[in-house]
Structure formats: C-alpha cells, structure tokens
Symmetry: C2
Subunit: 315 residues, 2 copies
C-alpha cells in the first residue's frame, strides 16, 4: 500500500503570504512536528507547534492563530473551510483486486460505497471493479463535514444514507465506522479492511445491548453533567440546552479534553455527551460513570422510545 501527500504543502503555504506558521498534528504523527518545523524555519518561517491532543479536524487549535498567520492542520481532511487553515492529509492506495474477497458477501445488485478520507480518491476505481462483476456501486454526496462523495467520518454517515441502496460496502479499518454506518442507515453493511484484506458482515447488536445497559444504569442517577465541548467542530450548546431543559437534575459542563479524572472530580452520577459522539460509544470503558448520547438521555427522560434509538451524528 503506497501513501502520498495531497499536494505540495510548501507551495500552498507560499501562496498564502503567511510568515508565522502554526503546526498541528494528530497524536500518532506528532513526532513529525519537530522535523517539519525545522524545514519551515530553514525556509524563513517563524513556527509554533500545538502540543494539544488532537483527534480530528473538528479539533482545530485556533488559539494558535492569535500568535500565527496560518495553521497547518496535518492528518485530517477539512470538516469546515477556513482561510487561515491549510489541511494536509495522506492518501493511501489500496489493492483494488483484493476486493474479490468482498464479492461472496454481497447480496444485492446495487451497493452503496463509502470509505474514509485516505481511500476516497479510489472510489471510482472500486466502482469500476464491481461493475466488472455485475454490481452497481452507488456513491453519494454526504454533508458539508464530508466534502468528498462517499466519504464518512466517525460522526457523520450521511453519504451512506444518501446512496439509497439496501446494502452498503464500507472500505476501511476499525470497527467503529462500519458500526456507525450500520446504525445510521439501518441497512445491511459489509466491511472490507484493505490492510487485512478481510470482509465481514457488520453486527451492531452487541453495541446496542451495551448501550441499553448504560441507559438502564443512568436511570438511577441523581445528577447528570451534560458535557459541551469547546472544540471548533464539536461545540453543540443548543442541543445541550435542550437536553438540560428535560431534567432538573441536569447541568451543563464545559470540557475541552474529556478525561476519566475530569469526570471523577466533577462527581456527577452520569454524563450526557454532546461533544465527539465517539466518547460515548468508543470510550465508555475508560469512564467511571455512564456516558450517554443525546438520544440515550432522551430515552432516560421518557421523551424517546428505545424502538426509536438513533446513533448520534454531527452532520
């Protein structure tokens, strides 16, 4: 599998006329910051580096723009467009022929195609491959947060819903994205991991059982902290205020980095998460108290039925 940057970042930077450059890298790539900063300094730029934890383009370190002309955000595609932020992410080419593995799992003549940003440029090739095998791949527009056709995020699955297909093929790694596609579309989902070259049918029933148990536990809570993020693309104060109005026991709590210690020290019996949706679904095991999604809190408050369960998305 080969990887290549999206473009020449030095050329794009030069065009902006910026002299003071701020750099932000996600956790797994942060070690590149020092050598990238050295390169920039040798080209005459002043450089500052963000040391904040960073998990997505919803988490821009805009504070740095007080002391810099432009922010280079590395590793993620834009979820919103800003003139003072340059995004730099990697494309990774997958082995199209390995999709042979998927074919026995597909049951329809039409299949919706979705993937994450690294592979989205290959969706036309994937569609072509399927066509050779008599299957029509449908690639749809998503929301503004997923500007590339067929692109999904861990919190935005609109491009999957918009295909209109009864079966979805997700190409990418990890379990959360395909689970999200499954819950958001309620369709049959086949997930193909281009690294292991394995395909499987996505089953969300275990996750739903776990969520049901958390909802039941949260019904005993005497106090709820409704978490609002300060991050650029995660602040959903309106939703938080609506949820707060559902219960006298609920208070709004602003947190930038949601950590087990922060929740323990605050001492609420349960939390409702309006920040990154994955905090509730993915990180529950790390947290000392139930962490509900907005829709799950609605179930606790009796304004939504379990039968109307929906996955939380930022669209």
């Amino acid at each position: 599998m080969s990887s290549k940057p999206t473009s020449d970042i030095f050329l794009r930077l030069e065009k902006t006329g910026a002299k003071k450059v701020a750099l932000q890298f996600p956790e797994g790539l942060k070690r590149k910051a020092c050598s990238f900063a050295t390169d920039l300094r040798e080209r005459g730029y002043e450089v500052i580096i963000s040391g904040e934890p960073c998990w997505g383009a919803c988490d821009l370190d805009l504070d740095l723009l007080k002391d810099a002309d432009i922010l280079i955000h590395y590793g993620h595609a834009p979820v919103d467009s800003r003139e003072d932020v340059l995004y730099e992410y990697l494309r990774r080419d997958i082995d199209i022929e390995a999709l042979e593995e998927v074919l026995p799992h597909l049951t329809k003549k039409e299949v919706g195609l979705v993937t994450t940003i690294q592979h989205v440029h290959q969706l036309p090739e994937i569609k072509e491959f399927l066509k050779k095998h008599g299957i029509t791949g449908l690639i749809a527009k998503g929301s503004e947060r997923t500007p590339y056709d067929g692109q999904v995020l861990g919190c935005t699955f609109e491009s999957a819903k918009n295909t209109g297909a009864d079966e979805i093929l997700f190409i990418g790694t990890g379990v959360f994205h395909p689970l999200g596609v499954r819950l958001a579309t309620k369709k049959r989902v086949v997930a193909f991991d281009p690294y292991t070259k394995k395909a499987e049918i996505v089953d969300a029933s275990k996750l739903l059982r776990q969520r049901f148990a958390r909802i039941e536990k949260a019904k005993e809570a005497e106090s709820f902290g409704i978490i609002v993020s300060k991050k650029s693309g995660q602040k959903r104060l309106d939703i938080a205020k609506r949820l707060e109005s559902l219960s006298d026991k609920a208070f709004i709590v602003f947190i930038h980095e949601v950590t087990p210690d922060a929740l323990l020290n605050l001492g609420f019996d349960a939390y409702v998460n309006t920040a990154c949706p994955r905090l509730a679904y993915d990180d529950q095991a790390r947290f000392p108290k139930p962490m509900l999604s907005p829709q799950e809190f609605e179930i606790v408050c009796g304004v939504r039925d379990w039968e109307d369960y929906e996955i939380d998305q930022i669209i």
Copy 2:
C-alpha cells in the same frame, strides 16, 4: 481550625446584575459544583460549570464568558483583577499560640512573615504574638499577583524578598512554598505547618542537586520543546521567544494542560517550561523527559552560570 467564606457570594453576585453564571472550582472542590449550581438555579440564574482541570487563579476558564455574563472562580484569590470574574476563597484560622513551637528555631530579632491566602488575614495577630516574645515581624507588600501584604504563591515570592529581613518565617502547609521562599530570598527560612504544628528549617540543597542533574541530562538533548501555556495567568510568550533564540534545536510548543502523554507524543528530547513554574520543580517525576525552568535552559545554553541559579517566578 475554623474556616469561613470571604463574604456572601450571593449578595456580591446580585450586585453585578448578571443572569448567566459560569462556575469554576479547583480539583479538590469540584464536587461542590453541582449543589452550588442547584442553589443558583433556584435563585433564578442560568448556570454553566467548568469541567476543566484548575490549579489556581492563573487558570481562569475565560472561554465560559462567551456563554455567561460572569465567572465565579472558587478556591483561589485573584492574581489579576477583572470585572467579569468574582473570586470566592476560604479563610482558615490557625491556632496562634501553637507558634510557640517556632520560637526556638528563630535566630534573629527581626523576621519576615509570609503565608498563603487562607491565613493571610492573621498575619497581624502573628506579628503581635512574636512581639510579646521580643521578635519584630516584618510584613511586606508583594507584587500585583499577591495583593495581600505577606502573601506568597507557589510562583510568586516577592513579599518574602521585600521584607528585607535575614530570616523568614513561612506559615502554611506543603514543602514547595517554603522551598520557593528559600530559593527566591536566599535567606534562612523557618517553615511552620499550622496543621501538624511542627516547625523546621528549610533546606533546598536536595532540590538543587536534582535540578543540577536534570540540567546535565538536558545538555545531551538534540531537540527542545519550549512550552507556552494558554492559561490566562501563565502565558509567557516573550520569555519563550527569547529562550527559543538561544538554540537552533528549540521550538515553541503551546499546551493548555501539560501531561506526560502530551510530552511523550511530541517526542522532544527535553522541555523548557514557561507555564506554571511548579511543573518543572514539582512534577518532574511524572514527566518522561527533563523539564527545565527558563533559568535552567539558560545554563544549558551557556548564557548563565550555575552559580547564578535562580528560581523561576511569575511576578
């Protein structure tokens, strides 16, 4: 030992005319947030709570003022004065007679008196007590960050320096404040803990040996991250820029909460701390790499001699 709040916070709040109130508590008191918020809501206020870690009044959660009229900061005295922040801290009365324990340790007829905010209101009584025993207590003004005469912070020891005395009596708990007084004044320091009622002579030689070892280790580093805080009373970008200019291997890194994970992920060989001074002195054992004070980095860069070692203060 009795404790009482500084004033009626509800009365002070009413006078401001604020309707939307943000609350901030330090870590050890965060659990009070929910009941305080309930009280405020019953009095007709809208309330939001800061879930951020908080270690001092240098760490105001000013972001909350985007969504609130006023911030109540609990547990610390002001380090700067702002119209949109109300400070609420506790006074704790100590047993003055227990200072008998101190008398055998004092060697001078004049002694400088310093303490932390909880006890500062009792300095006149302490002075009176010493006078009865033939000792003149000297209480001096500090800096703007320590508005009460004789007050010290973990990062500001000016009131101790300004007494002009050759011997200082520190009243309070913990080892760091008296060590700071000793290093900042270079005078003989007696520390009296009003809880254990024990007095002792302060010896900073172990801390200095540890710092010397860190400086030696940092001399091997190929890269330095110069940490700049985003916190309201800890951002020292000018100092950071001056330090950056001392070495081609140094880059400025902005961090809000300095954690071991953040430093590990960034991957610098050593760090220089311009945020809360105690991060270098108190928290070194938590960090995976040497964390130097600004003055220690100057020693590494050869622009300061070890003999001119000074403790880092924010004045």
